[in-house]
């Protein structure tokens, strides 16, 4: 039997499949589909200090094999999420990762401290890369200097491992990745959604109130894989690959370019039990490739 475990250095996950923030609700929405303990970990939908209404509809626009979203990080606020996490943890031992958001650096640090103090939380993911909060899609992950300052600030306030989630909309994602790890990130996750635009031809207006939106789904996989490969070549902290994964084979593609684990996102909407299927496929694929553990192919791309 193949060993699917994924080593993040600070923690070994039972397999490399993590469900991505914003695509898995607060975990509880999926409890009726499968036992979440099958997963490497779950990432909660991004959270701010206070409740947020999110963006006005429409919030979704389907594209060929993809999805543009402008949800705007709607959420119940930190206090309510603490309650939700306690409830989820009581029902499943799956490691819980909190996706930490902030309007400014102070808020990022404050929210990170709140969840770092929770025993039920395994690690934090710093969401410095959501494109749907500010008009034009600006986010800290577009600036290596800002990223470094913010990561240092947050690290001072927390005791849990910190994953920093990067944006593909940075001019130099490798530079931002280096800034994050040098500032103390324990791992990097990439990519968040690609900035995209949909227009209403008849009305001559953008589809979304925020004009641009974030593209995810199978359509972005080659773009994301290339960025993960580039970051993995330089990074000394573990990298979690994200973007368009729909199969076990896709997961191994990310491992091959150097990722230690992956996050699966948009496919959860189409197929609520996708992660369960994908974990089974990884095992079958490893058998076919005649490898016993993921380190046999991790970072072994000959290019």
């Amino acid at each position: 039997m193949a060993d699917l475990s994924a080593d993040l250095g600070f923690r070994v996950l039972k397999n490399p499949v993590i469900t991505a923030s914003g695509t898995f609700g607060y975990g509880e929405e999926f409890l009726s589909f499968y036992d979440l303990d099958l997963l490497g970990a779950v990432v909660m939908k991004g959270i701010f200090r206070q409740p947020r209404p999110g963006n006005p509809p429409p919030r979704l626009h389907e594209t060929p094999a993809g999805l543009l979203n402008s949800i705007g990080l709607a959420g119940p606020g930190s206090e309510k999420l603490q309650e939700i996490i306690r409830g989820l943890h009581a029902r499943t031992p799956v490691p819980i990762i909190v996706n930490v958001c902030g309007e400014d650096d102070d808020e990022f640090a404050e929210v990170a401290a709140i969840f770092s103090a929770m025993d039920e939380v395994a690690m934090l993911e710093l969401n410095i890369s959501c494109p749907n909060v500010r008009k034009g899609g600006a986010c800290p992950a577009q600036d290596p200097g800002h990223t470094a300052r913010l990561v240092r600030r947050v690290k001072e306030k927390i005791s849990k491992p910190l994953i920093v989630k990067l944006s593909p909309n940075a001019a130099d994602i490798v530079g931002v990745a280096m800034a994050a790890q040098d500032a103390g990130a324990d791992a990097l996750s990439l990519v968040n959604t690609f900035l995209g635009l949909a227009v209403d031809l008849e009305a001559r207006k953008p589809v979304f109130a925020n004009t641009t939106a974030g593209l995810s789904g199978p359509a972005i996989k080659p773009l994301a894989l290339k960025l993960v490969w580039e970051v993995c070549r330089k990074a000394y902290v573990p990298v979690i690959g994200i973007g368009g994964i729909t199969s076990g084979r896709d997961v191994l593609d990310y491992i091959l370019v150097g990722a230690s684990a992956v996050q699966i996102g948009t496919i959860n909407f189409r197929e609520p039990a996708a992660a369960k299927r994908i974990i089974g496929e990884i095992e079958a694929e490893m058998e076919r490739l005649n490898i016993n553990d993921l380190s046999a192919i991790r970072g072994k791309l000959e290019a």
């Binding site: 609700g25 929405e29 999926f30 919030r59 979704l60 094999a65 949800i71 909407f269 189409r270």
Partner: protein, 256 residues
Amino acid sequence: MQDERGLIEEARRLDGGYHLLKIAAPQIAAAARPGNFVMVRVSPSLDPLLRRPLGILEKRPPYIWLYYQVLGRGTRLLSELRHGDSLDILGPLGNSFPEIAGKRVLLIAGGRGIVPLFHYAQACGERRPLLLLYGGRSRADLLLLDRIKSLRLQGIFVFSEDGSIGRKGLLTDGLEKILKEERPDITLSCGPEAMLARLAAMLRPYRLENHASLEALMGCGFGACHGCAVGTVSGAYRKVCDEGPVFPLEEVRWPT
């Protein structure tokens, strides 16, 4: 809530781009309540990526009936399925119309908005006095009339914009008269946004109990993606998929 492999028992193409599917889906059929909907995977291909939300027209376990109009690529692919084909269906999803005892209920359906109301009327059987106000652009939007007549409602009032069936005009043209003469206690409505917005304005002075079933673009259908938000008068957004699709008509912030 189940992700069930349904088997198409009958696929009928009707006029006006409407289709009627009879699907064997025993678990969903057993659990479905009036107002619930399902998410159907229209193709095994990753394009189109998302499932499509469709209301449940009728259930008689092990069967459910879906009635939909071809509006885009997803529904066009769905319309290519035939008897014997299988279809992944997630459901039943969403809330349902409230249980109502001993009251006079007026159902108000615009076009394919008949779907959840038909299910409600079917579930009520002949136990309850139900009235139906049913409107559409033309005869093709009101194809279910024959099927509705078998439900033995207490009264059916039909309007079409082109006058091809029933009275000529919008269903809202007939609303005041029905409210005054039939004196319903409760309205259940489903239809285009503009129709529901107009209903909300017209019904306000009557102080009835009003519930509307909403249509929305959806990513997942079970509350995970937050993509199907609808604005409410309190300023908060609510998810059509798992906090709805049935809402108090007055609670929704309608476009002006």
